[in-house]
């Protein structure tokens, strides 16, 4: 996939700045270098014979900073790429989805904020639905069914088949299951409930789908 799709470059190339993308990149690199230099300010550089912890990071930061300066200098000399248009919707919902997953999968506390661990049964659908809104084409019904089928699939794949340690269910609610049930039995039971719920949603809302169907779906373009 090629990078630039917006043909708005011409206007940006007048004046002193000839490669806005390069200059922005250069500023980013210099900021990064400055951060690294500041973070290593108290560390010992050592000698070449016995290198201290700061020597390599410091010289690398200098290299990064110099590259940044060179990029900025070129940005005033040579004509280059314009800045691309940024869409904020995608990154915003993607990050929101990942953060929602991270804070709900197991007990989480940050300062005064404390959340009980809700397990995959909540974190999964929450992450999928929030993430799904990263595109303007998102449809709630579709995402709901996707989340109700993908979450049990992940439970069975990661938890049951591969034995990876993933909390499935809120700890407080574990008492709902008969005392003798193993972690895996709880996982399977939860997964089946989700699957049943998914199928129920699918059939219950089947009628509403036909009204909103996209004509483009039948033209061979998908």
């Amino acid at each position: 996939m090629s990078a630039s799709h917006e043909g708005s470059g011409v206007a940006g190339r007048q004046g002193a700045v000839r490669a806005p993308q390069g200059i922005a990149g250069g500023i980013l690199l210099i900021a990064l270098a400055a951060l690294a230099l500041w973070l290593t300010r108290d560390l010992d550089q050592g000698t070449l014979n016995a290198m201290g912890p700061a020597m390599l990071p410091r010289w690398l930061a200098v290299g990064v900073g110099l590259s940044g300066l060179a990029l900025i200098a070129y940005g005033f000399i040579r004509v280059g790429e314009p800045l691309e248009r940024w869409s904020l919707r995608g990154p915003f919902f993607i990050i929101l989805s990942i953060l929602a997953f991270a804070v709900t999968i197991r007990p989480f506390s940050f300062g005064p904020l404390a959340l009980p661990g809700l397990g995959l049964v909540v974190a999964g659908p929450l992450g999928i639905i929030l993430g799904g809104y990263a595109t303007p084409e998102a449809r709630f019904r579709e995402l709901l069914i996707l989340s109700l089928s993908l979450t049990p699939f992940c439970m069975l794949l990661f938890g049951d088949l591969l034995n990876l340690p993933i909390p499935v269910f809120p700890q407080e609610l574990a008492g709902l299951f008969p005392a003798g049930w193993s972690q895996k039995a709880i996982m399977r039971a939860t997964a089946s409930v989700l699957i049943v719920a998914g199928i129920a949603v699918f059939f219950a809302t089947k009628g509403s789908r036909n009204k909103t169907i996209d004509v483009a779906d039948h033209s061979g373009r998908i």
Binding site: M51, S67, A102, S147, C154
Partner: protein, 500 residues
């Protein structure tokens, strides 16, 4: 020769065990799936599936990961031919003539020759790896820290020269990658470096987190920038087997493509990507009627497809023999190996021969499986292309979140993939390629270790890198390459290769 055969038979013994056969098949299947779906690259997939392989023994895990990689090379051609979108960077050229063939009702033949060419290339590449493995490993064993450091410098310079876009930006990315690798406890003094005082950073930035963030998550963000537009060919796919005339036209391109791909694949940098471009350019140049290219010439599919598969496989050579990953995918394999407690390098072959040869033999087995997976099942892959991206990416997102959480059970790891995702997206938007950064990150730790050792041995004298003849030679190659790449006339040619 006797050694060669006994090694291969040891390898096949390992590769043909039921478990490893299954894992190879699974890897090829998943890889094909990933290759077919536009918008999911092999790097992101391997990063995503790393946690899944934790449960297997190291040989099985690596066999599966390798299968994913060359499976994706194969699958990418299906999308390139049928939808005119390269499912994967290495099949960009295949889309040119392959899609035209499909429009003429010859999609089946294009898929067929791509598969047959790839299989031939895979077979040859497997033999090349087996033949070069022992001598190169022997060479690597006499390397000291000085030579190793210089070798890695040369590898990184290759990566810069072969990367797309601005050389200055590629250099900056490598420096940033090495800089990131220095975060965490200093190995010798035990002091914390650039950790912001955060406990989970004292072990350094987790490799899987960085890779999944800057490739997996950033890739999703970038794909969401453009509204999707897939134009699947609606003509019948037609017969799959090329006829005698097709074979006559394509057997030479297949052989040439295999050679070009195998050589470029060994080079550090992005060999598997460069191979198809070089093969296409060559075929077009020596063709009697170059005007046919771009209008459905079978040579334009046969050559590049063979080249990318050969390159994908020979890129394992530097990793398996020298312990140096030549590209981002191999960098992930290093991550996988270290997670399984194997230090990549020349010792792998002597200490762990069943892993080394088993993996090589499994590549040939995997290539055979790919023939079966791809040709008869092509109808299934076409149907898969109809899954819209708006349904696909939430699933990828979920896999990344669960996968990264299950490595250390740390919610902070999950948050970090969001952070690195944003970083990766910003870098792409500003025209930086993230692949050299990952390479720098992986090589960074090794380089620092070897640099320190070399300097201790020489009592702090930097001239040690020039006094050792092998090291001096490697550095000279690096300098010459860099100078050549910066010469204006050559730069122009390099840019043309990448933009065609």
């Amino acid at each position: 020769m006797g050694d060669f055969l006994s090694n291969l038979s040891l390898g096949f013994g390992v590769a043909l065990s039921l478990q490893n056969l299954l894992l190879a098949f699974l890897g090829c299947l998943v890889g094909t799936l990933i290759g077919v779906l536009p918008g999911v690259g092999p790097i992101a997939t391997i990063a995503m599936l790393l946690p899944i392989t934790f449960g297997f023994d190291p040989t099985g895990a690596l066999i599966m990961l390798a299968g994913i990689y060359y499976g994706a090379q194969y699958g990418g051609s299906t999308t390139a031919i049928l939808v005119n979108i390269p499912g994967e960077a290495t099949s960009v050229v295949t889309a040119l003539d392959g899609h035209q063939m499909a429009r003429q009702g010859r999609a089946g033949v294009a898929l067929g020759i791509a598969a047959i060419g790839s299989f031939f290339a895979g077979t040859v590449a497997t033999l090349v790896i087996a033949a070069l493995g022992a001598p190169l490993t022997g060479l690597a064993l006499i390397f000291g820290p000085t030579e190793y450091f210089s070798l890695m410098v040369m590898g990184l310079v290759f990566a810069v020269v072969l990367a797309r876009g601005s050389i200055l930006k590629a250099i900056a990315m490598i420096l940033v990658g090495v800089l990131l690798s220095t975060v965490g406890l200093d190995l010798e003094t035990g002091e914390e470096r650039m950790t912001f005082g955060l406990a989970f950073l004292s072990d350094g930035i987790d490799f899987a987190v960085l890779a999944m963030g800057i490739f997996g998550i950033a890739e999703i963000m970038r794909n969401l920038d453009h509204t999707e537009h897939r134009d699947v060919v609606r003509q019948a796919i037609g017969r799959l087997l090329p006829n005698r005339e097709d074979f006559r036209q394509s057997y030479k391109p297949v052989i040439r493509g295999t050679l070009i791909g195998a050589i470029l694949g060994i080079l550090p940098g992005n060999g598997a990507v460069l191979g198809p471009f070089a093969s296409y350019t060559l075929e077009k140049k020596i063709a009697k009627d170059p005007r046919r290219f771009g209008r459905g010439a079978i040579e334009g599919v046969a050559g590049p497809e063979s080249a990318n598969n050969a390159g994908a496989q020979t890129s394992f050579i530097p990793l398996l023999t020298l312990g140096i990953p030549p590209n981002a995918v191999m960098a992930l394999m290093v991550g996988a190996m270290t997670i399984h407690g194997i230090i990549p390098g020349p010792q792998v072959m002597t200490k762990n021969p069943s892993l080394f040869w088993g993996m090589i033999a499994s590549m040939w087995v995997g290539n055979l499986m790919l023939l079966v997976i791809n040709l008869p099942m092509v109808g299934m892959w076409v149907r898969l292309l109809k899954v819209p991206y708006r349904m696909l990416f939430p699933a990828i997102l979920m896999f990344c979140s669960i996968g990264i959480y299950s490595i250390n059970s740390l919610p902070t790891d999950v948050m970090f993939i969001a952070l690195f995702g944003l970083v990766g997206y910003t870098l792409i938007k500003l025209g930086f390629e993230p692949a050299p950064m990952l390479l720098g990150f992986v090589l960074g730790k090794l380089m620092e270790e070897n640099l320190r050792r070399a300097l201790i041995l020489s009592r702090g004298s930097l001239s040690t890198f020039i006094d050792h003849p092998v090291s001096a030679g490697l550095l000279a190659v690096a300098v010459i390459l860099l100078v050549i790449a910066l010469l204006p006339s050559i730069r122009k040619g390099r840019d043309e290769v990448f933009t065609e």
